[in-house]
Amino acid sequence: MPFALLKYGLKKDYPFEKDADLPPPTELKSHYDVVIIGGGGHGVATAYYLAKYHGITNVAILEKGYLGGGNTARNTAVIRSNYLTPEGVKFYAASVKLFEGLSNEFDFNIMYSKRGQLTLAHTDAAVRGFRQRAEINKHFGGNTELIDPQQIRELVPTLNMNPSHLPVLAGLWHMDGATARHDAVAWGYAKGATQRGVELHQLTEVTDVIVDNGRVTAIKTNRGTVGCGCAIQAVAGHSSLLAAKAGFRLPILSYPLQAMVTQPVKPFLDPLVSSPSLHCYVQQTSRGELVFGGGSDPYPLYNTRSTMDLKESLLANAVELFPFMANIRLMRQWTGLTDMTSDYSPIMGLSPVENYYLDAGWGTWGFKSTPICGKTMAELVASGGKVPALIKPFALDRFNTFRQVNEMGATAASH
């Protein structure tokens, strides 16, 4: 070890993390102004912005497992805003901006890494669709261009330009495409929130929602009942089950989404590459592992099992894109539960129950929306139910009035 480093390590002003841990668990209080159900990224982000911007700190986050242990830990950590609908682009572009500044804001490294995302078009129809997406994207604050095969070759020299006899005709090059360490995002928000007085209660499962006269008055948990001024449900994957406890249904079906990662190899792939026609996306992590994902499973299920047929089809397509990958070994796989809405947009805002707010329907696009979701949900709660303009289009009510936000750019792999 170099002597200078040792000397520096022994000095008093060595920059170690003073609050490395979360505050120790406490008893539940009998009443909170705000109860947030779900201690994932969205839940803790909402608490963080409530405390930071609105001075609301009498807040409890109830998490049945552990912090960020649900879908926050199970996504593929992609951040992007190359969507198709104006509502979607505005929303996700705001999220990308917040992500860029998070490490500084937290004073905690979320390992935000901007590499750009490349989506491949293999058909004329896809090229037309991408041209439209690029224009809408640019207009509403995204950073996206349509690029030709020569530019694609320069960006990703290892890519097979004729996979499955579907020649690559063009690419949607999204310069804002990035990744971040998902656990760090949850930890950063949780630490920021708890330092400001918010209580995070892990291993606290919500067993019932008490509704009195159309208003939420209390939340029953395995550790007793807590009264609440208002409640927010942010339980991706289990939104329908919790809504049923509050007494209403949601336009959601839950599907498993499987992803997997290989052993680490030398860095060769900088951008995130996806192909809607081949139902596959591939990216290389900063550790050198390759992460693969595709669309959700083909039928609804509350289960995080692994299936051989999905692995076979996904990997066959990935090997078509990068043929030399055939020799790399798969290291592990995981599954998250996706709350799919029929228009591939989230459900945010008011619910049929007064002072009970919804943050649901996050399908396969929840992680990338974490900061903006927390920020807008905090605004909604602090204003006592005045829906911010940015999330107005995502109201539950849109299904009753047939005004869906049809988001065809929702996933890198088409559904």
């Binding site: 089950l241 249904r249 949601l250 289960n303 047929d309």
Partner: protein, 93 residues
Amino acid sequence: MNGPRNISEFVHGGEVRDMPDPNRCSDREWAEYVFYYDNAITVIREWWLHVASGYWFIAERHTATDEIIRTYDPSEIYKERVDFSKDAEEKTA
């Protein structure tokens, strides 16, 4: 027809539900039918298509264990043919 087969031979067709009369129900009832689900952890009845043979059947499946409990021909439930033309005629008349 029944027996163990690869899941890749089958396509999921959604839950078996009673359709409200599209000519008479309210918008809210129609939205309930088209978009909303219980999405609960339980045994559900759903439509499946065996692609190779083009055979539609009904299966009872548990949404947490993925266990298929029973499969049967739709004729066990649907005894009569649904006649849409009758409603259409009434409307134009």
